[in-house]
Amino acid sequence: MEKQYSFTADLEVKNLACLRNEKVLFSGLNVSISPKSVLFLQGENGSGKTSLLRILCGFRLPDEGEVSWGNQVITSLPEYFQNISYVGHKNGIKDELTVEENLNLMRSMATASDIKTEFVLKQIGLFKQADVLSRQLSAGQKRKLALARLMMTENSFWILDEPFTSLDKASVVFFETLIKEHIKRGGMLILTSHHDIDLSGLSVNHFSLSN
């Protein structure tokens, strides 16, 4: 049995509304997610998936409604945000730093896991590129580096926005395994994806955002 996450609680979204360019993206949205489960957001382009994720990360404020973590509103709960590992459309890696420097930076900023950088590099298949500037990586390699963020910290709440864009098949399988381990350890995951993702054996809530 692997070490379980210590900081977990139910996340609840109540009556949430989001406006964008004076148009209602969604309103009256109610959804919840508990530890050891996955919330898979579905919906066509422009249905507000990314906006919902950004609200959950605190980058956006909801236009109506609230989000609570263990019955506390997230805006008054800094621990909630510190516990998020977010990989969005933007990779959040610095082009001018090498692969290894980027990884070490991700680790040093948060509650670090005790995983070795060298091990992570081997796992994501960038060991040979450790001293290469991230600028010189391909789009898929950059994405892998961005997703490696998930391994560097002990955060129990993962929010992934189209995580598998431009990844090759082997990497997709690797990160699917990583997600499964994460959920088994008591973690939570919210993701959007237009790729088929193998989440067999996990409790997955498919939630559809429709206009």
């Binding site: 990360c57 969005g88 959040g92 730093l97 040093s108 500037l133």
Partner: protein, 222 residues
């Protein structure tokens, strides 16, 4: 908390070192603009000497504003800023690391090169030390105030013009006290009052602007 601060500080120095042109451009701008004045005015030593403090300070102010442009832009564009808001260390504290690093690589070289340019404008040596003191106290203030404007406009596509309209008026107090201090010294008076005011403004900027910057960055992210 301080670990994250040091990491950001070191990261920004390293990135600046690997992208040197961005540090050097404002510095070249500073040198070029100042050396244009003796060319335009001609060999009028008295006039040059008289307006030297104004030339040096106004140019330093513009060079600072020019250099600030990239302070948050790359972090905003590559998503590092989003990640920074999710850290345990408050964003308002982390931005001071970015500004400190930025001042270290743009403000400091500017101050170091100033004595050379002051000689070009026939500034007497006793005024040069006062000039350096005002720059040392003034440029961090300019960076801190400018960063608020940068943080507000980082999400806009053409923030440049709005930025100058937004922050140039706020630079006026610093400019007034700095040039007044130098005039006083030239005329043989004490500049203590002006220096005290500049220190006060700097302290005020250090204590208040980080919160404004963090709030503005969150607005830009929204």
């Amino acid at each position: 908390m301080f670990n994250a601060w040091t990491q950001i500080f070191k990261r920004d120095l390293l990135i600046a070192f690997r992208r040197r042109s961005e540090i050097i451009h404002p510095l070249i701008f500073f040198v070029m603009v100042i050396s244009l004045f003796p060319l335009a005015i001609g060999d009028d030593k008295v006039l040059l000497q008289k307006i030297a403090p104004a030339i040096l300070w106004v140019t330093a102010l513009l060079a600072t504003m020019l250099s600030l442009d990239n302070l948050f832009r790359s972090d905003f564009e590559d998503g590092s800023l989003e990640q920074m808001t999710l850290l345990k260390t408050p964003l308002s504290f982390l931005v001071t690391a970015k500004i400190a690093a930025h001042w270290f690589i743009t403000g400091l070289p500017l101050i170091l090169i100033t004595p050379l340019l002051a000689v070009l404008l026939y500034l007497p040596s006793e005024s040069i030390s006062m000039l350096l003191l005002t720059l040392l106290l003034g440029t961090p203030t300019l960076s801190l105030i400018g960063a608020v404007g940068i943080a507000l406009t980082v999400g806009l596509r053409q923030g440049g013009v709005i930025l100058s309209l937004l922050i140039l008026p706020l630079y006026i107090p610093v400019l007034i006290f700095a040039t007044l201090a130098m005039q006083n010294v030239e005329q043989g008076f004490s500049a203590e009052a002006q220096i005290a005011m500049m220190i006060a403004i700097l302290v005020l900027a250090i204590t208040l602007s980080p919160f404004a910057i963090a709030a503005a960055l969150r607005v830009s992210l929204n």
